[in-house]
Symmetry: C2
Subunit: 98 residues, 2 copies
DNA sequence: ATAGTGTTTGTCTAATTGGCCAAATTGACA
DNA sequence: TGTCAATTTGGCCAATTAGACAAACACTAT
């Protein structure tokens, strides 16, 4: 295993990985429009709030979103709008005629 | 769990997932320049050829690359050049000053 | 200080993934 | 047909991940 190559692409891969989950893609899409809180998001997705908190943490750790505490609520915002351009390409991939 | 939302983003997530591995990102980069064969790639990365074959299969199944058999060798080509634009954005994410 | 609300973290479990080796498959060609 | 080279697939193991629930934590406001 050539560690040189692995190392070169590991960081990049980890950002892809952070986005490679349906709920996390949903979050990114939601935050494009406006800030959202943890509870709100977990209600929409109908998932345990602790699970949602973990998904948000994954995105935050990779600097894709940012959390801001206002009173008792944490509101998340999308830090990297260019992430959404990814999707355009992804959908080209998906919609390719084989 | 809101199956509606999951379903909406699952396909998209699976494309991200297909790319979310250092070796597969390396493959994508290599193929940008020219076709490559399985052995060749596995030599560069210094990984078992069977493992390389599986990585190529993942990318092929998601229509990111395409394989063409010429004699006894399978040569792979990048089908979706826009995938590389992803990387530009990804690196913006990575290089953000916190 | 205490209660109450909202969020994160610990722990466990089931499922998925990446790696290697060995075996099977494919296709070219003698 | 049989052999050889290249590739893929089966099987196994170790590591990682997503999910739920419960417990801990952080803040606000009585």
């Amino acid at each position: 295993m050539n560690q040189e190559i692995i190392k070169t692409y590991q960081l990049e891969a980890s950002v892809f990985k952070a986005m490679a989950h349906p709920i996390r893609l949903f979050i990114i899409h939601q935050l494009q429009k406006q800030k959202h809180g943890v509870q709100e998001l977990s209600n929409i997705v109908e998932i345990d709030i602790s699970t949602m908190s973990r998904h948000l943490d994954v995105l935050k750790r990779h600097k894709i979103i940012d959390g801001e505490k206002i009173n008792n609520n944490v509101f998340y915002t999308l830090k990297i709008p260019c992430v959404l351009e990814f999707m355009v390409c992804t959908n080209k991939v998906i919609n390719q005629a084989k």
